[in-house]
Symmetry: C2
Subunit: 162 residues, 2 copies
Amino acid sequence: MSIEITLTPKEGKYLTYIYRKQVEGDERTTTTGLARSFRVNPATTTEILQKLAKKNLVEYTRYYGAKLTESGIVEAQKLLRKHRILEILLVEFLSYDSKKACEEASTIDHHCSEDLINAICRTYGHPKRCPCNKKIFSNSECRRQELTEKMLKKETIGDLND
Amino acid sequence: MSIEITLTPKEGKYLTYIYRKQVEGDERTTTTGLARSFRVNPATTTEILQKLAKKNLVEYTRYYGAKLTESGIVEAQKLLRKHRILEILLVEFLSYDSKKACEEASTIDHHCSEDLINAICRTYGHPKRCPCNKKIFSNSECRRQELTEKMLKKETIGDLND
DNA sequence: AAGTGAATTTAGGTATTACTTAAAAATGTT
DNA sequence: AACATTTTTAAGTAATACCTAAATTCACTT
């Protein structure tokens, strides 16, 4: 198994912010850009970028900015998947409008286990898009769990017929 | 409006623990009892009890123990409501077994807004019991929100008929 | 190429949460 | 009243997430 990556909530938020910037075509994310978005002092941003760099999630160049590494991209996509799957639950099942759904999802996404997200994902048939039409990245584990579930059901049915 | 009560996640867990003890008939909760349950040093427990006392949620007597105040009971019930409503979602909608549901609910209950909990509560028709049959405390705000929702719907229909 | 102004980083600091150990104090039990 | 146990206090640690002020680097202009 690969080495565990642990992220604090804020680190996660920075990571997904950088990811979104990158998707929009920005080669790098600057300290000031982050500082403005998160309404914090640039010094705070520098600190978090350094932590993300130490965890090998961003390639950080002093005085220049940061871009995600390969595993940074993977982590960001995992987090965005959590966020977007939650949005689906909120909109589809609880009738949230997509803006409120996004806000609420933001406060809990980091705390939700992958298991929970996968359970929602399976319930909605592995959706490919969130309510605002952004991509949801597929998760092989999630599909594997579904197969396991089905096999268990078959076994149970078998037992009943014994 | 009443003064805001803010609780850290751990303070919340201590509060609901004391509540449960009280329901079971225990007049007081001791430092050692808490320390054993949370697997921490008794000194840690003392500290948290003092903080809860400062927030007027427990009546804490040195060397004796703690019991909830009126507002402590209210807060504990709010937290337990969150926890139990989440359990319903996990069990009913996502097919969790009740043990796993409890574990997962514990990791997110504190972070869920009252709005989110109310939305789930309304979806399930203001359930009175969680999957393990524990009481879910009713919330007047939650029912009020439902009435508002219905009135908005009526208005919309009215508009269409204009 | 040097100077300047803006962006960025470093250094040092604060507050909060949640824990620890060790020593002091209170309790209750015989 | 003495002693063992429980509990508290005091002091300290580590992590998170901020800050200010000063130093550094960059980028642009002249």
